[in-house]
Symmetry: C2
Subunit: 410 residues, 2 copies
């Protein structure tokens, strides 16, 4: 037993939301707690109130749009984020928030309630572009990060200004306790895949069994400076050594079925006449298997030991961040699978290679994450796009699953 | 027939000169046309006048300390530079200038003259740290660069200030025509090796047969941006591709007996969450053989073609600078060899892997470059050092050769 969801209304709402912070290249720039984010939040608030919700805001600015249940028990939550990266697209974040909105709109339109309340959540600062770290409000809510640390984060574009300042300036400093979100009975999140697999294989629904663990490293290679006219034997070139390590990371990822990327690199002394003596590489490793990151690290450290000895350089690997591996709740994943099957939609279980707010929430609350495809796997880019069919498939899957988790229609 | 040179006076003068711009770590910071360089120039001028020279300055600030000959014919010149890199040592440059000074001091003390005049030269801005390019005054004098381009070069540390401004501010804007240096009958330059070979093999005198050709490239690798959670297959990671090219450069240099160095590297988008899409590498290649650089380039372009195809990236190699291969004058090199043999000093013919002012002068004027060892091959570093024995060996070799080239004692 379910209710008629309206995929066209969902699509149109995504379109309307994408006009806020729209960039000339077809993308979206809606940094957390910016004027554009404020505009987007007000639109969500207005839509939610019109759909019969009450809207509360916590001390970290996250919005909770609560559609009442027939019982005042622990709610089922569904959400994501409305903020974007500086060169973002239309769907990374809003897809999950507005899918939740469509669920309560459909209930409201049908004049129905579920047993428990349903809360549509807009987490603040998921992207982390403006305030580090990423997903800080969901992390603060779940106790992964302290509330004080979230609020004190400086604006990456204007360090004199903090997250707390931005909350105050935009009027989104709420009074609700973020920790109340730990009482959700369940949490659902829908998101574009941000990868190429679903589209490539013609599968509209990805059931994300777990968010994979992520390790962030700084790899510091110290060699010896010298003139570029110095003979090759006897050099201790930090950049040549770092190049070997970058290729080793890539090779180990391919061999073990993980992912590893050198994302940033700086050189000293950074002069045309000098052999590099100090290179700093930012490394990111992630693996779908439980012990995958540990295995990749063992393999990488073996390469480091060999390169260090052969090239006479020193290599220091410093862990600078990361995320734990977070499995999702089997019962909620089953609800999604049943709903997809009921809608005759192909589905596939898959790991979630990219952290989402569901990673933080899933540490504390039984949670489920679902993917729909995006064209070419492209995200964090103005050309990020989805089809109407994929958009509707996600709604047809998660909508019924949320209703079911909320105890069904009363 | 020669005159008694004074190696102790030479050594003491190097020591006195090194106090100007001395840094606490034992090095020297004496950027071109800085207050320290001004101080060093005045000391050279005073010493040269005391040694019977007349001092003229050209429009690019280069100093010519002329010790008259019995005939007013084309002079024999000997020189180098007094400027240093920001973290320089005591000998890179001053060794060659003050060796020339010791030659005229010895003549003056002995009351002797050579047939032709001898000119001790201090070329402005050899290092190029303050004003690009390096060796610009000798290049301007020889017509390799236009005088206007030398004068218009902005201060690399304060772009609102030019070479011409610095000349005016320090009072070293002379009136002599720099092109007059093209009339030198011969040019000699003594320099520390800036490499490890002579010390390692216990040879105090390097006879530099030629300055090797240098090619400077920007290597631009364009891949595709993506999230670091994107699977490995299908990535077009510009940094991984660049790492292969960096290692290829190194390997080709070793295999062909050349030198190749990736010195600088920048990444876009330079973010922990993104696969690098654009990497720019500064490459420097040099080879002692006539066609060495061309052979290295052919080998490198073959690797580029393979990597481009296999990784789906684009690679653009842009030549941004370099120096031609410049052979030195056989007769002058022979004079140096005879002098070394006469002083019972071991000597070795070798290529000059690092451009010096002699490279520019050698394009127009019959020239000779000679190396003495430096400890550990270290230069452009505060710990740059030489022994008293090496210092004296250079004087004992080049002193007589200059006298001979100047027609001998009159």
């Amino acid at each position: 037993m379910t209710i008629p969801f309206n995929p066209d209304r969902f699509w149109d709402s995504l379109d309307q939301m994408a006009r806020i912070g729209a960039t000339p290249d077809g993308g979206v720039k809606r940094l957390a707690l910016s004027p554009e984010d404020d505009h987007a939040r007000k639109l969500l608030r207005d839509w939610a109130i019109a759909a019969g919700c009450t809207v509360t805001v916590d001390r970290l600015g996250s919005m909770y749009c609560t559609y009442p249940g027939v019982e005042d028990t622990a709610p089922v939550a569904i959400g994501s984020h409305l903020d974007s990266v500086p060169t973002g697209g239309k769907y990374d974040g809003p897809y999950g928030v507005l899918l939740g909105l469509e669920v309560v709109r459909a209930l409201h339109e049908a004049g129905r309630r579920t047993k428990t309340p349903i809360v549509v959540v807009n987490w603040t600062n998921e992207e982390g572009s403006r305030f580090s770290p990423a997903m800080s409000a969901s992390g603060g809510a779940m106790g992964v990060i302290t509330e004080a640390a979230v609020l004190a984060a400086p604006d990456n574009f204007d360090p004199s200004f903090t997250y707390a300042d931005a909350l105050a300036a935009t009027g989104w400093a709420g009074t609700a306790d973020p920790a109340k979100a730990r009482d959700f009975a369940a949490y659902f999140e829908a998101h574009i895949e941000q990868g190429p697999i679903l589209e490539r294989d013609g599968i509209p629904i990805g059931i994300v069994t777990h968010c994979i663990g992520v390790e962030q490293w700084d790899i510091i290679v110290t060699g010896t400076d010298g003139h570029v006219g110095y003979p090759m034997p006897g050099r201790r070139d930090a950049l040549a050594a770092a190049s070997e390590l970058i290729l080793a990371l890539e090779r180990i990822a391919i061999e073990t079925g993980g992912m590893a990327t050198a994302t940033r690199l700086t050189v000293q002394p950074d002069a045309r006449g000098n052999i590099p003596s100090l290179v700093r590489v930012a490394g990111n490793i992630r693996h779908p298997e439980v012990d995958g990151n540990a295995r990749m690290e063992v393999a990488f450290r073996a390469v480091v030991a060999e390169v260090t000895k052969r090239r006479g350089v020193a290599v220091d690997i410093r862990r600078v961040g990361g995320y734990p591996r977070v499995p999702f709740a089997p019962a909620l994943l089953d609800a999604l699978r049943r709903a997809a099957d009921g809608a005759q939609l192909k589905r596939r279980d898959m790991p979630g290679p990219i952290p989402q707010d569901a990673l933080h929430v899933g540490i504390v609350v039984p949670s489920a994450l679902m993917f729909i495809p995006c064209h070419g796997g492209v995200s964090h880019h103005p050309s990020e796009s989805i089809s109407r069919e994929w958009c509707a498939a996600g709604l047809a899957t998660m909508g019924p699953a949320v209703i079911e988790a909320a105890g069904g229609l009363a």
